[in-house]
C-alpha cells in the first residue's frame, strides 16, 4: 500500500495493466512525451515505447476509429480524450462502431477498448472543459460507463475496464485528481468488487443519497454536516452508471424510504432521471416521499465565476435532503434547485 493521489493511482493502474498484458496500448493527444495534460500517462512512453504509448494526431474520431482497427487485430487500446467536451467528434465512432461491433458480428469481434475521459467541473476551466456527458453514453447499448471517485477505485476499476472484453467509457473527475489515499495497485481483479457494482460510501438510516464521481466528496461532507442535525445519510457511490447496480441501490432505498440523487450534469434525460424512474418502479411501496434530484441546471456550462451557481454544492444537497424529509416550507419552488 502506498499513499498517492488519484492521478498517480490511475498512472499506476495503467502501468500495471500494460505490464500484465502486452496487447494493451495507449493512444491520445499529448500522452507521450508530455505525459498527458493531467500527467496521467507520465513516464509510460519512456517505459513502454512509442508503439505502446502513441501520441496521435489531433483527431478524436481518428483515435477511436483506429483503436477499432487495433482491436480487430487483437489489441486492447486505451484512448485518452483530453477533456470531456472534446469527445463529441468521436461520438459516431463510439456509438455507431465501438458500441455495436460485438452485436453486429454475432460476438465474433470484441471491442476491449477503454475510453478515458477527464470529466466535470469545479476547477474554474474554460468552455468545453467542465462537462458531464455521462448520459449520452449510458443511453447507448453495448457500452459500459463508469465514473471513479477515489484513488483505490481509480486504480482497480481502470485495470478492470482494460481487462473487460466490452468497451468501457471511463470518467475521471478532474476535481478528484489530487485527492490522496492509500492504494494497493496489485489487487487481484477477481477479488475486487465487480466493475459494475456500487459502493456504500457511508452507511446511514434516514436518507439514501446517491451520487458518483466528482460529487462523492461533496455528498460525504453533506452527510457529515447532516449528522450534526441528527440526520443519518447513507451515501451510495454508484461507480458504474451503465449498468447501474440496482441491487445495492434498491436495498438501500428500501431501508431508508427516502432518496436524493445528485449529479453535476443537466437534469433533462439524465442519469439521475433514469435512476429515479427505476427506483420509483421498483421501490414505490417503500418510498415515504417523492425522490429528489439535485442537478446542474439545463444550461450550457457557465463561465468559471458562475459555475458555483450551476454545480450542486453542500448546501443544495442538504436542501434536497430537507425536501425529501418534508422540512422545506412551500416556497413555490417545484423541484429541488
Amino acid at each position: 500500500m502506498t499513499t498517492m493521489t488519484m492521478g498517480k493511482a490511475l498512472n499506476a493502474g495503467l502501468r500495471r495493466a500494460m505490464t500484465d498484458d502486452d496487447r494493451v496500448v495507449l493512444m491520445g493527444e499529448d500522452i507521450g512525451t508530455l505525459g498527458g495534460v493531467y500527467r496521467i500517462t507520465d513516464g509510460l512512453q519512456a517505459e513502454f515505447g512509442e508503439r505502446r504509448v502513441m501520441d496521435t494526431p489531433l483527431a478524436e474520431a481518428g483515435i477511436l476509429g483506429t483503436a477499432i482497427g487495433l482491436a480487430y487485430r487483437g489489441y486492447r487500446p486505451v484512448c485518452e480524450i483530453q477533456f470531456d467536451g472534446f469527445v463529441y467528434p468521436a461520438f459516431d465512432q463510439i456509438v455507431s462502431q465501438v458500441a455495436k461491433m460485438h452485436a453486429r458480428t454475432h460476438g465474433l469481434v470484441r471491442m476491449p477498448i477503454t475510453v478515458r475521459i477527464p470529466v466535470g467541473g469545479g476547477i474554474g476551466a474554460a468552455e468545453h472543459h467542465s462537462e458531464s456527458p455521462e448520459a449520452y453514453f449510458a443511453h447507448t447499448a453495448g457500452l459500459r460507463v463508469v465514473s471513479v471517485s477515489n484513488p483505490q477505485d481509480a486504480c482497480t476499476m481502470l485495470r478492470q475496464a482494460i481487462a473487460s472484453d466490452d468497451p468501457v467509457i471511463f470518467f475521471e473527475p478532474k476535481r478528484r485528481y489530487h485527492v490522496k489515499a492509500e492504494v494497493d495497485d496489485a489487487v487481484a481483479l477477481t477479488e475486487a468488487p465487480a466493475l459494475g457494482s456500487a459502493r456504500i460510501a457511508r452507511p446511514g438510516e434516514h436518507v439514501t443519497l446517491i451520487t458518483w464521481g466528482g460529487l462523492v466528496g461533496v455528498a460525504l461532507d453533506a452527510a457529515l454536516a447532516a449528522e450534526d442535525e441528527g440526520t443519518s445519510i447513507e451515501v451510495v457511490d454508484l461507480r458504474s452508471l451503465s449498468p447501474v447496480d440496482y441491487d445495492t441501490v434498491t436495498a438501500s432505498v428500501r431501508r431508508t424510504g427516502r432518496v436524493v440523487i445528485a449529479q453535476e450534469g443537466p437534469r433533462e434525460a439524465s442519469i439521475a432521471s433514469e435512476v429515479v424512474a427505476v427506483l420509483t418502479e421498483r421501490c414505490f411501496a417503500f418510498l415515504e416521499a417523492a425522490p429528489v434530484r439535485v442537478t446542474g441546471h439545463d444550461i450550457p456550462y457557465p463561465p468559471a465565476r458562475l459555475e458555483k451557481h450551476h454545480l450542486p454544492d453542500l448546501d443544495r444537497i442538504l436542501y434536497g435532503v430537507d425536501r425529501v424529509l418534508g422540512r422545506v416550507r412551500e416556497t413555490g419552488v417545484e423541484v429541488s434547485p
Binding site: G69, D166, V244
Partner: protein, 371 residues
C-alpha cells in the same frame, strides 16, 4: 459529358491497359505487374465478373419480389471490385462499404451470406476473421479509420515478431466518402504512422443523387498528395489496369513504403439502392456513354483478340452463373426468421444483469401469448 463528370478533366489520366474495345496498351510500368495473367487467369477474371454481375442481378430481383428489404447493386463496378479482390492475399484484411459484393465474393464469402443483412435476418453475414474482411460498413467512410488502425496493428505485430506476415489492410469507399472527416483523418493517421493500408476509392460518379463535382473541385486522386500519400488514378472498368495498380500499392505497403491511394474511375449503372430512382437526377445519355465502357464486354473483347474466348468458355460460365443464381435464390428463400430473443444476443461480451433482466421480462411477456 454532363457537368457531373467535371472532375474527370484531370491532371492525371487514368491508368488504362485495355481500351474500350479490349485492345491492349503497353506500359513499361504496369506490364511487369500483370505478366502472370495468362489466358487461363484472364478467363478466371471473366468468370468472376460474370458471376458477380449475376449475383447482383439476382439480389435486385429478390428485392423486387419482396424477398430482400433492400439491395445496393454494384452493376458497372465489377472490374474495380474483382480486380481489387483477386489482387489480395488471404492474410490481407478488407474494410468495405455495403456495395463491395464483388470483393466479398473474392474473399470467399458464400453468395448467400451476402444477402443476410439485406433480408433483415442479421446485422452481418460472415465471420470477418475467416474471410479477412470486416462486416460491411453503412456509415459512410467510417471504415477507413478501422483499416488504418488494423494496419497500425500489423506494424506493431511485425515489430514484436518479425515472422509476422507483411499483410496489408484495405479500405474500400466511394467518392462521397471523400468528404467525410473519417476518411481524411484516416489519411492523416496512415501517413503519420506510415501504416500498410491501401485506400481504394471507387469513384462511381454519384453519392445517391449527388454528382462527384459536389464533393470535390479537383480530381479525387489529387487529394492524397496533400497528406503525403502516393496515389493512382485508374480506369475502374479495366480489370487489368485495376489489378496492376492495386498490386503496385500492395507491394509498396508490404515493403514498408506506407499507405497508398487508388481512385478507380467507374460508374454505378444502377440505382444507389433498390429504394432509389436515378431517373430523377441522371441523364440517359450518360448511361449510354458508360454502357459502351462495360467492363465485362471489354475483357471479353480482349480475350477474343487473344483467341482465348470461344463458345465453350461462354457456355460454361453462363451455366455456372445460372447455377450460382439458383442456389442463391433457394438459399435466400430458405433463410428462417431469427428467434425473437435474438435481439438481446451479443450486445455485451460479458454478463450484464440489467439486460438479462430485460430479456427475461420480454420472454415472460411473450410466453403469455397463446401460440
Amino acid at each position: 459529358m454532363p457537368d457531373a463528370a467535371k472532375p474527370d478533366a484531370t491532371t492525371q489520366d487514368p491508368v488504362r491497359l485495355l481500351d474500350e474495345h479490349g485492345a491492349r496498351t503497353a506500359s513499361d510500368r504496369y506490364d511487369p505487374l500483370i505478366a502472370d495473367l495468362d489466358d487461363h487467369a484472364l478467363a478466371g477474371l471473366y468468370e468472376d465478373m460474370v458471376l458477380i454481375r449475376r449475383i447482383d442481378a439476382e439480389g435486385m430481383a429478390l428485392q423486387r419480389q419482396g424477398e430482400l428489404a433492400l439491395w445496393p447493386p454494384l452493376l458497372g463496378q465489377e472490374a474495380a471490385q474483382i480486380g481489387l479482390g483477386r489482387a489480395l492475399r488471404s492474410d490481407d484484411f478488407v474494410f468495405s462499404s455495403y456495395r463491395e459484393h464483388g470483393v466479398a465474393y473474392c474473399r470467399g464469402v458464400a453468395p448467400v451470406d451476402l444477402l443476410r443483412v439485406w433480408r433483415g435476418v442479421s446485422v452481418s453475414g460472415w465471420d470477418p476473421f475467416e474471410a479477412g474482411m470486416a462486416s460491411p460498413q453503412v456509415i459512410i467512410g467510417a471504415q477507413a479509420l478501422h483499416a488504418t488502425g488494423y494496419a497500425m496493428g500489423i506494424q506493431n505485430d511485425r515489430e514484436r515478431d518479425p515472422a509476422t506476415p507483411d499483410s496489408v489492410a484495405v479500405a474500400c469507399f466511394g467518392d462521397g466518402a471523400m468528404s467525410e472527416g473519417d476518411v481524411n483523418e484516416a489519411m492523416v493517421f496512415a501517413a503519420t504512422y506510415q501504416a500498410p493500408v491501401v485506400f481504394f476509392c471507387q469513384n462511381n460518379q454519384y453519392a445517391i443523387s449527388e454528382p462527384v463535382s459536389l464533393q470535390t473541385r479537383v480530381p479525387l486522386a489529387d487529394r492524397p498528395a496533400g497528406f503525403g500519400i502516393p496515389s493512382a488514378r485508374v480506369d475502374g472498368n479495366d480489370v487489368l489496369a485495376v489489378t496492376a495498380v492495386v498490386r503496385e500499392a500492395l507491394e509498396r505497403a508490404r515493403g514498408g513504403g506506407g499507405p497508398g491511394f487508388i481512385e478507380a474511375v467507374t460508374y454505378r449503372m444502377g440505382p444507389h439502392t433498390t429504394a432509389d430512382d436515378p431517373t430523377r437526377y441522371r441523364d440517359p445519355a450518360e448511361l449510354e456513354l458508360w454502357s459502351a465502357r462495360d467492363p465485362i464486354q471489354r475483357l471479353r473483347a480482349h480475350l477474343e483478340s487473344r483467341g482465348a474466348f470461344g463458345p465453350e468458355l461462354e457456355e460454361s460460365v453462363a451455366a455456372r452463373a445460372d447455377q450460382v443464381a439458383a442456389e442463391l435464390r433457394a438459399g435466400c428463400i430458405a433463410m428462417p426468421d431469427p428467434d425473437a430473443l435474438e435481439v438481446f444476443a451479443d450486445v455485451y461480451a460479458e454478463p450484464h444483469a440489467e439486460l438479462d433482466r430485460q430479456r427475461a421480462d420480454y420472454a415472460r411477456y411473450l410466453g403469455g401469448f397463446v401460440s
